[in-house]
């Protein structure tokens, strides 16, 4: 298997009044094609910054990011992004949202309609095709957002806390659905979360980041067979181990907060 994503010596600094924030420092990370990787860490550790750099929304201060061997220079449909805020276009119906990426490619109408129908079916959205996003629950909206990026057939999916705003039950069923899609379609996924449990449930690998500067603290392979059960020993052992690491960074975050260095 070839590497789908290669992050080499990436640094990202943000200028702020009277100095700068080192959001990412010396990040080196390789994601294999078809791998499911979670980025884990407390608020402000640079998870979104790293994901946005892979998505091409912002350029690293230094270092390079290669996707499928080519350097990232801007956003593109080869890396579909799912946002925590859903980012559905509220003036488009569910079906129009899903069709958007195909529409602007200029595919024939019949082909678009067929593809949209398949995706709506896959994500259990068929009855909702003519609704507007405002009339959907959070879980439904995120299904639409997932269908919208799947429409592009991009090999890489980037997900920034996609289920962070959902209740526990909805969250679990979307996690299962995502795993099913991932296994079926063989996508490469980078998934940001600050839920330890979520990362163990989903990932092949969990990359724990440190708080300011954001560096890779640990890169943990999860060898528990799927479907994973949070009641098993292996699950809980890993959970304890990760909790220690994440809490160390959480305490550094809180210390910075108390020193008035951040409002994250």
């Amino acid at each position: 298997m070839s590497s789908a994503i290669e992050i080499r010596d990436v640094h990202k600094r943000f200028p702020i009044p009277g100095g700068e924030v080192v959001a990412l420092q010396d990040i080196n990370l390789t994601v294999e094609a078809g791998e499911f990787v979670c980025l884990l860490g407390p608020s402000g550790c640079g998870k979104s910054t790293l994901l946005n750099a892979v998505a091409g929304f912002s350029q690293p201060t230094s270092g390079t990011i290669l996707v499928d061997g080519r350097p990232v220079t801007g956003p593109g449909p080869d890396r579909g992004m799912v946002f925590q805020e859903y980012a559905l276009f509220p003036w488009m119906s569910v079906a129009e949202n899903v069709a958007f990426g195909l529409d602007i490619k200029g595919l024939p109408k019949a082909q678009i309609a067929e593809r949209v129908n398949v995706l709506l079916e896959k994500l259990h959205l068929r009855e909702f095709r003519d609704r507007y996003p405002k009339d959907l629950s959070g879980g439904m909206r995120q299904r639409v957002a997932i269908a919208r990026v799947l429409a592009l057939d991009s090999p890489v999916l980037l997900m920034d806390e996609p289920f962070g705003a959902l209740d526990a039950l909805t969250r679990r069923s979307l996690q299962d659905e995502l795993l099913k899609i991932w296994q079926e379609l063989g996508k490469t996924i980078i998934f940001v979360t600050h839920s330890i449990e979520e990362s163990i449930y989903l990932a092949d690998r969990i990359v724990v980041l440190t708080y300011r500067p954001g560096t890779v603290k640990r890169d943990v392979r999860v060898d528990i067979p799927r479907p994973r059960d949070s009641g098993t020993n292996a699950f809980n052992e890993l959970k304890r181990e990760l909790a220690v690491m994440v809490m160390e960074e959480q305490h550094r975050h809180e210390a910075a907060e108390q020193a008035g260095l951040t409002t994250d």
């Binding site: 929304f57 593109g76 946002f83 980012a87 276009f89 003036w91 602007i104 490619k105 405002k134 919208r148």
Partner: protein
Amino acid sequence: MKAVTWKSVAEGAMVPLATLVVWQAVCSMGWVNAHVLPSPLAVAEKWWAYLLPLTEYDPASQSWLGWALSGELIIDSIGSLYRVLMGFLVGGVLALPLGLLMGSSNLIYRWMNPLIQVLRPIPPIAYIPLSILWFGLGNPPAIFLIAIGAFFPVLVNTIAGVRHVDGIYLRAARNLGAGRGTIFLRIILPAATPYILSGVRIGIGTAFIVVIVSEMIAVNNGLGFRILEAREYFWSDKIIAGMLTIGLWGLAIDAGVSRINNHLLRWHRGLDH
């Protein structure tokens, strides 16, 4: 939209009806001079006469419909509404693209904004002398004044609408492969419509105010002209009949615009359907 029930209609009619009763009573008792304040019945009678054709129906020289619509009130209403429409179109058609440009380009915004800020506080009424000097009498100066009245609300709201487009939609669109043209037409424009349409609504309201004023100076028909003319003859009943007509048209236009808005913004949160 909320269901209209008999109860709500009855409740809404209470205060207007009571006002009419008191007004009629005050006039019937002879407490006020009928030239100063005519009774509602006198106003209604005048309004009816104002609505009816001035001549007898003559099948030889005109169609029935043409005759039925030949009353002064209808001619005046058509004249006023035509000016509102034309003025609003001229003002809106100029304001919309300029607003879109100023909203999406910081450079154009910085160039144009000072001029806009200087011109905006000048009330359209203050343009009356200039409008007559430039356009003479008749429809052109009236349409010019109305266009100015409609221009600024549409412009200011369009700029605000474009500037307030949530960045997350732009990021999502770029991620899905949209180029600049697609982003402008399919993201920025629809995302800005709630603002633009509220500008349209304010613009039409302003146009309706300005049309009445402009008719008092530049033309010899229209609702504004008619109530000023009636004053010269001391026809207070006709003045009030004309004012009520103006009010009813204003109400009808606003209700129509608001229905169109509700339809265009059916995707938008916070609208009652």
